[in-house]
């Protein structure tokens, strides 16, 4: 899987590359508008991370160019601008997702994972891990072919874990992810504990192996 990171902030690009490289992703970095344009002309990527504010041009132009050439690369805008207008404009131009800086790398990984899954498995987007089967389109989960009912938050949490397999996810990172719009609630860590506990229980009750492991006392990790 090839990922292009269009980001002028070197340290940020470096961190993303380091984090993503542990997965099967092949990362390339473009730190200027021109460099990025050159790259997208020649190569195809599974996912492009696009910073809008570049020193020599507007990232939205790159997005326009991609769409004009009918390229199928998935695009996630990563921007320091939390402006609603930019978000709407970006999504209208055909970006697949929008992430505001600063973000957790685990959040980014989960988004890239979902995006690539969507792009590659249009019709039957099903994730399988032994007895566990997740249908991303229908948003259903089954263990040993038996459907189990998860709440919206629990399903969301499960996908987040799957998108960050074998990664340590700290409680505060999970809290930030689960809070979403209600960012001001994220200091409530018991909330995360309760959701993870419920998810674990539902999965194990259905006969699923315990993939969610507790690490360092308070962190979690999906093993698989």
């Amino acid at each position: 899987m090839k990922v292009l990171i269009i980001e002028d902030e070197k340290e940020l690009a470096k961190s993303i590359v380091e984090y993503l490289s542990e997965e099967k992703y092949l990362c390339e970095v473009a730190s200027t508008f021109t460099e990025a344009m050159n790259k997208i002309e020649v190569f195809n990527y599974d996912c492009i991370l696009l910073d809008i504010t570049l020193p020599d041009g507007n990232g939205l132009k790159i997005l326009e160019e991609l769409k004009n050439e009918n390229k199928q690369d998935g695009v996630i805008i990563i921007s320091a601008k939390n402006s609603v207008d930019d978000k709407i404009k970006g999504l209208q131009l055909g970006a697949d997702d929008y992430l505001t800086k600063p973000f957790h790398l685990s959040e980014l990984t989960a988004r890239i994972y979902s995006l690539i899954r969507r792009k590659h498995f249009n019709n039957s987007n099903i994730i399988k891990q032994d007895e566990l089967e997740i249908d991303l389109l229908a948003k259903t989960v089954s263990v040993n072919n038996e459907l189990i009912t998860l709440t919206k938050k629990e399903f969301d949490l499960l996908i987040y874990f799957i998108g960050n397999k074998n990664r340590v996810l700290s409680k505060s990172t999970l809290a930030e992810h689960l809070s979403g719009d209600f960012a001001d609630m994220l200091d409530n860590h018991d909330f995360v504990y309760a959701h993870v506990k419920n998810l674990k229980k539902k999965l194990s009750d259905a006969g699923c192996e315990q993939y969610i492991k507790t690490v360092y006392g308070t962190g979690y990790k999906w093993e698989g």
């Binding site: 902030e9 340290e11 940020l12 961190s15 993303i16 380091e18 984090y19 542990e22 320091a80 939390n82 402006s83 609603v84 505001t100 800086k101 600063p102 973000f103 957790h104 790398l105 685990s106 938050k153 990664r167 340590v168 700290s170 409680k171 505060s172 990172t173 930030e176 979403g180 719009d181 209600f182 960012a183 001001d184 609630m185 994220l186 200091d187 409530n188 018991d190 909330f191 309760a194 959701h195 690490v215 360092y216 006392g217 308070t218 962190g219």
Partner: protein
């Protein structure tokens, strides 16, 4: 502070009092003057009459007997002038004023007379002639003068009043204009004030000074706002770098549990600074009017949405929730900001309600209200101030309610806090 009066009214009062004193003083002065003229003229008149009488008698060239007879007859028909024989002439003429019955009036009427006693010579004999001429009564003169003065005084006061009204409209118009513009001026509205041109030096100076002051305030305010926005914006990138480095650190295989906890604490602090920074940026953007607030929004839908999203949090703290949401409330505004407003108020309530407490959310056409159970009244002066936390639980960004207030300001609403029956009530009035 007493009753407020405008400047011209105040000066009008003083002027009226002054005019009254002047007019009042003028009455005795005029009287004395008129009376003096009266008497002087009458004295002259009496002299002329005396001379005429003397001449007329002498021109007759009649015998002494006939003269005595004529004088007697004269004295009979002229009660106001008497001719009396005198051995010796008076050493000098005497003038006097007397009040007595007017001999020509049938009614009883005491009148004032000016008299002259003078020597005349008829047929070389000495006579003393007394002439008395009716002169206007003192009281009457005073009354007439006072009356005229009063009329003029009234004309003056009415004139003052009319002029005053005209002046306050015309003369003070530039001042009123400046005042109105200052009243409607808002520092954060980005609108410049243009004062009216005036040819009055004082007003022109006032306007110039105000203009300078306002320009300074506007630019200071603008710089400050831009600074906040730029600073928050600039902080995003280093925060992002830090956050990602911690993320990577957390994935290290050889991390000890102690190191993990340190990294997680750093993570928490970073998440919080990120949140504060985002909120500061949001505040700056609202203040810089970067939001369009003209869409028509179903407020009720947003409230229901927010409450659904927070259901888990209500449950987790065992908070009982009551709601009375009228679904047809539509407002003009920015949906993103209104969502933030609703979320901030409800989240605030959840955070500060003890487990097992109660929250109620109400929406009507007149306003939006969030109540939560509490024990102590909060200081409403500090509540909406930035970074002034009310509780020891300082995990919030300290900006939630400031943001609520700014959003209300942008939409022309009012947010108020009250404490009734052990309930904190936050009310947004549309």
């Amino acid at each position: 502070m007493g009753r407020m009066k405008n400047l011209l009214q105040k000066s009008l009062k003083q002027l009226t009092i002054f005019a009254f004193i002047v007019f009042a003083l003028s009455i005795p002065s005029y009287f004395l003057l008129v009376d003096w003229i009266w008497l002087k003229e009458l004295d002259e008149n009496n002299h002329l009459i005396a001379e005429r009488i003397e001449n007329e008698f002498n021109e007759q060239s009649i015998s002494d007997e006939k003269l005595a007879e004529n004088i007697k007859f004269w004295n009979d028909i002229q009660p106001v002038s008497k001719i009396e024989y005198a051995e010796q002439p008076l050493p000098e003429n005497t003038k006097y004023t007397i009040r007595r019955q007017n001999p020509y009036s049938k009614d009883e009427a005491i009148d004032r007379f000016r008299g002259l006693k003078t020597n005349i010579k008829i047929n070389n004999q000495n006579y003393i002639l007394t002439i008395e001429t009716n002169v206007e009564e003192t009281a009457e003169t005073v009354a007439y003068i006072a009356m005229v003065t009063l009329v003029f005084f009234l004309i003056l006061v009415v004139g003052f009043w009319i002029l005053n009204r005209r002046l306050s409209k015309k003369l003070w118009q530039p001042f009123q204009d400046t005042l109105q513009k200052l009243k409607s001026f808002q520092l954060n509205s980005q609108k410049q004030i243009n004062f009216q041109e005036t040819d009055t030096i004082e007003f022109a100076e006032l306007n110039a000074t105000l203009d300078k002051l306002l320009q300074h305030s506007i630019s200071t305010y603008k710089n400050q706002k831009e600074f906040t926005e730029n600073a928050s914006h600039e902080l995003q990138t280093p925060l992002a770098v830090l956050k990602n480095k911690v993320d990577i650190l957390l994935q290290s295989d050889d991390l000890t549990e102690r190191q993990y906890h340190i990294a997680e604490e750093m993570n928490k602090a970073l998440i919080r600074s990120t949140r504060i920074n985002k909120n500061l940026l949001l505040l700056a953007k609202i203040e810089n009017s970067q939001f369009d607030s003209s869409e028509l929004i179903g407020f009720g839908t947003l409230v229901v949405q927010s409450m659904d999203g927070l259901q888990a949090h209500f449950k987790e703290k065992n908070i009982s929730v009551g709601s009375d949401i009228s679904s047809d409330v539509e407002v003009k505004g920015n949906s993103g900001l209104i969502e933030v407003l609703i979320n901030n108020l409800i989240i605030n309530a959840i955070r500060h309600t003890l487990p097992g407490g109660a929250i109620s959310v109400m929406l009507s056409t007149s306003g939006f209200e969030v109540r939560n159970s509490g024990e102590q009244v909060l200081n409403p002066d500090l509540l909406f101030k930035r970074f002034s936390r009310m509780s020891a639980n300082n995990s919030g960004s300290g900006l939630g309610l400031s943001i609520v207030q700014e959003i209300c300001k942008l939409h022309g609403w009012q947010v108020t806090y009250s404490f009734e029956n052990n309930e904190h009530i936050f009310r947004v009035t549309f």
